[in-house]
Amino acid sequence: MSDTSKYETTGVRVAPTPVFPRGASKAFELRVVAVWVTLFALFVLFFMSFGLKFSFIAERFPALAGLRLTKDGFIQGAALTLFVCFFSIIASSALGLISALGRLSSSAICYGISTFYTSFFRGTPLLVQIFLIYLGLPQLGPVPDAIPAGIIALSLNYGAYLSEIFRSGIMSVPLGQREAGMSLGLPRWVVFWTITLPQATRIVIPPTGSQFIAMLKDSSLISVMGVWEIMFLAQSFGRSSYRYIEMLTTAATIYWILSICFEIIQSRLELKFGKGYSKAR
């Protein structure tokens, strides 16, 4: 902990951007950039060969990118995708952590609930879960609207995957760390919260980041309920005007840009939680 405050007070930026391996030479970085630019140019050429109608894309881009509200004054497109993902990320993280602790607990009930939950939600397709929540819950009484149903489905599904990631992170913290905390007479929860969890977080950030990027794209499945997110709009516009490929390309570009933003956030978090492990300068 004292290491962290030292870096903060002296204002030393730890480690280069993690796009490049640590200690890579300038020449290496330059060549990587050259490869990226070449591949990207080839990619663009590939899409240009489709003979896309750009005026059509330009007309509909503001809606897909979420820059415009719907006629009812609600958010749509990328804004709605991010809205759904934001709540799903929070809820699935909480579910994942609770479920991981249940799996690690000595209580047979907690262990049973946790393993059953992970098994079911990892073992069935997300699309089926969406339909079960949207069409199945009303049989029991509550009739969820499309957006809450989508958030519930994404949270339950991703919570199950995160549960296993969090469990591996917690288990990777050496037992000695916990024992040291206990020997200082700290309560169990304090030991978990201030010693085990921060160290586990460092381990789980990369796989968790991957899960959230996957969630960003899986959120397109909630379009079946008529939620006006990116994929719903792309399909609606594409199907009714026979300009499907234009809309799919646009949707792909928006998803990719959003994913890159998620990657950047992930690498920032990696830096923050990896401070104690980076090369001291």
Partner: protein
């Protein structure tokens, strides 16, 4: 164990907070109480319902349901879940009416109520523009007629078409003795073959009026539509099961819209022709 019990009591309450209340039956009561008609329709079926470049759901079906809301004196809202969700029924009060170009079938009638026919999708004969022999369906006798496989058009040329509507089957006239059907996977190919010239591969095509019209408009030097519509595929208004008063109200509104020419006007606005059914 006690904690578990508390959780199981709380969870449904939390869920209910996120949801709209489920009402039993009585759609009409709900519409009048909420002062809102919620229409459910397909997201991309132009010109009946689709999202235009301004991002608004528009079309023939949408205009009709907007008019229904207007006549009920309530606000209008449209939702567009996937088609499978619409036809699955059990709407649980999510939606009030489906003016969504639905063809009634036995299976659908088990989960939804069909209220009234509001238009029929016509089928027509299309010939090469140089053809002056075929002027109507009566002239199809002994000709090679293209149709998309698995459609009602194919069945019509084979004289085996059965259209089931609530309360019986629609009667269909066949003014020709016998024609040879040439089935195609895609209508695109059929139209390419017809464009080669009369009798080369095809003499005529039986196709849906709306799609055929688009092709003819795009290539008026190649094709033309001849004769009156052969038959109409009946399209009905659907609602969730269990509210006869609501169905009576819908029928009453359609009768009024038919009598004062509103249905005809909406049809002509979107399709340049009147395909609406007299109520």
């Amino acid at each position: 164990m006690r904690r578990l019990l508390v959780a199981s009591v709380l969870a449904p309450g939390l869920l209910a907070g996120l949801t709209t209340a489920a009402l039993a039956g009585e759609t009409l009561d709900r519409v009048m109480k909420n002062k809102l008609l919620v229409e459910v329709t397909d997201q991309a079926y132009p010109p009946f319902s689709y999202i235009d470049e301004a991002g608004e759901v528009v079309g023939f079906d949408v205009d009709i349901s907007k008019e229904i809301a207007k006549r009920l004196g309530v606000e209008y809202k449209v939702e567009t879940p996937s088609w499978e969700i619409i036809v699955a029924g059990n709407w649980n009060g999510r939606w009030d009416i489906c003016v969504c170009s639905m063809t009634p079938t036995k299976e659908r009638a088990e989960v939804l109520d069909f209220v009234n026919e509001y238009y029929s999708a016509p089928a027509n004969v299309v010939v090469n523009v140089d053809n002056n022999d075929i002027k109507s369906a009566a002239d199809l006798n002994g000709k090679k007629v293209g149709a998309q496989a698995g459609t009602t058009y194919e069945k019509y040329v084979q004289k085996q078409l059965v259209i089931e509507v609530p309360g019986g089957t629609a009667k269909i006239d066949y003014p020709f003795a016998e024609a040879t059907v040439v089935p195609y996977d895609s209508e695109d190919t059929a139209f390419q073959d017809l464009a080669l010239g009369t009798g080369k591969r095809l003499d005529a095509i039986v196709s849906g009026y709306l799609t055929a019209k688009e092709r003819v408009d795009n290539a008026p030097d190649k094709f033309k539509i001849v004769g009156d519509p052969l038959y109409g595929e009946p399209i009905w208004v659907a609602v969730d099961k269990g509210d006869p008063e609501w169905e009576a109200k819908i029928k009453e509104i359609f009768k009024a819209m038919s009598d004062d020419g509103t249905l005809k006007a909406i049809s002509e606005k979107w399709l340049d022709t009147d395909i609406s059914t007299k109520q």
